[in-house]
Structures are given as C-alpha cells and as structure tokens.
C-alpha cells in the first residue's frame, strides 16, 4: 500500500457552501437539542418532586447564563424543525434543483431567526422584560 494513489480532496479544502454548512448545522443543532432534552427530563422530574425542587429548577433557569442557553435552544429547535421539513421534502423527492435547494436554505435561516425572535418577544412582553 506504499504506492501513492490519487485521493479525493479532504473536507478542509472545499470552500464552504450554503448547502453543506446548513447540512452540518442540522446535525450540530440535533446534538445540541439532545442536551436540551436532558433539561426537559430534569424539568418534569422537578415538578414531580414537589414545589421546593421546582423552585430550585426555576432559580437555575432564571440565571442569565441559562436564559442565553434557552435562546440558543429555541433557535436550534426552530432551525432543526424548519430544516427537517426541508429534509422530508427531499425524502419525498422534491426540491433537489440547485436553485430550489439554495432558496429553501435561505428560507430555513430566515424563518428560524424570525420564529426565535417571535417566541422571545412574546416572553419578554409577558414578563415585562424581567424574564
């Protein structure tokens, strides 16, 4: 195996394209959301454990760091949801044209940002900015 054979270019050589960046982001948000699922399990368990445990969970969730992570999770959720719909369309055989794939990609970015803003706008309006 010492004879050098032509290799396909390594990943680092490619200029990132919208399609490939969105693809790896789908996977990254999926992993990130898995951590969010652990938080969901903890939240449910804290309610089942009584008011003191729930109050402790609330105190953790109200810290600035937790709020920032929650905004990140909201965006990751909407991104994974919107891009997941894009994947389901591909699975059904639609949207493979290069122009369509780029357009749906931009729609995914825009709608995930819009929906994240909408949710946190509603939360801030509800709590009067003291979330």
């Amino acid at each position: 195996m010492s004879r050098s054979k032509p290799l396909s270019p390594h990943l680092q050589i490619y200029r990132p394209q919208l399609t490939s960046v969105l693809s790896i982001t789908h996977r990254a948000t999926g992993v990130f959301l898995s951590a969010g699922t652990a938080l969901l399990v903890y939240w449910l368990a804290s309610i089942a454990s009584g008011p003191e445990c729930y109050a402790a969970a609330q105190r953790i969730l109200e810290t600035t760091l937790a709020q920032i992570v929650l905004v990140g999770w909201t965006w990751a959720f909407f991104y994974h949801l919107c891009n997941g719909l894009r994947h389901l369309a591909w699975d059904a055989g639609y949207g493979f044209e290069l122009k369509t794939a780029y357009r749906s990609g931009y729609i995914v970015i825009a709608s995930s940002l819009f929906l994240t803003g909408l949710i946190w706008g509603c939360i801030l309006a509800q709590t009067g900015g003291a979330a």
Binding site: L44, I47, G84, L88, I119
Partner: protein, 125 residues
C-alpha cells in the same frame, strides 16, 4: 439474474438489510414531532412563569398528560436514532463505538422512563 459475484454472496457482502427500519423510524418520529413539539413550545410560553400549582393543574389535564407522554416517546426515539448515526460516523475505535452505543440506548431509555414516570406521578397523584 444477479450481478453479484458468487464470492460476494457467500461472504454476505452488501446491504445489512437493517437500514430501512432505522430510516423509516427516524422519519416517522420526525413527523410526530412536528405537531407535538410546536404544541409544547406554544403551551410552554403560557406555563413557564405560572405558580407551581398551575403547572401541576396543566399537566393533570387529561389531553396534556397524553400529549406530553407522546412527545417524550417520539422525542427520545428521534434523539436515539439521530445520535446513533453521529456516533457511528465520528467514533472510530470499535470498543468505544459499542460502549457509546450502549450508553446512548441506556441513557435514552432511562430518560424516557424518568420523564414518563414524572408525568404520570403528577397526573395521578
């Protein structure tokens, strides 16, 4: 007529014939999660800042109890199938591969059990 070589057939090369179930299950859980997760995020906005008793009352509502359990089942299934592929792609040592897959299955299963037990405890208490 098959285009496979006789040797390849004897060695059992080619498809493991177990990929379709994974693919279908991932899509099916994704389809379930579209309405369930949107409902949950919407409902959560109204519930997060409420007092403890109101949160409990909400979970005890029969349709909420059922939908929450459905959400947990679909979510943990989708999580397990997705992370399984991530581990298959990036973990190269065979021993770590098996260990991480076992941990993932165990973690997803225990997570689902804790969540469902919690929901039922709140609902039936």
């Amino acid at each position: 007529m098959s285009l496979r070589t006789a040797l390849g057939r004897v060695k059992g090369l080619g498809s493991a014939k177990a990929g379709l179930a994974h693919w279908q299950s991932q899509r099916l859980s994704a389809l379930c999660l579209i309405p369930l997760s949107l409902w949950f995020v919407y409902a959560l906005m109204g519930i997060v800042n409420q007092p403890f008793a109101d949160v409990v009352t909400w979970i005890r509502t029969p349709y909420v109890t059922v939908l929450l359990i459905a959400l947990v089942l679909a979510l943990l299934r989708h999580l397990q199938l997705g992370l399984q592929v991530v581990l298959e792609d990036y973990v190269h040592s065979p021993i770590l591969q098996i260990a991480s897959q076992v941990l993932l299955r165990g973690g997803a299963g225990i997570g689902a059990l804790i969540a469902i037990f919690s929901i039922l405890k709140i609902a039936l208490a």
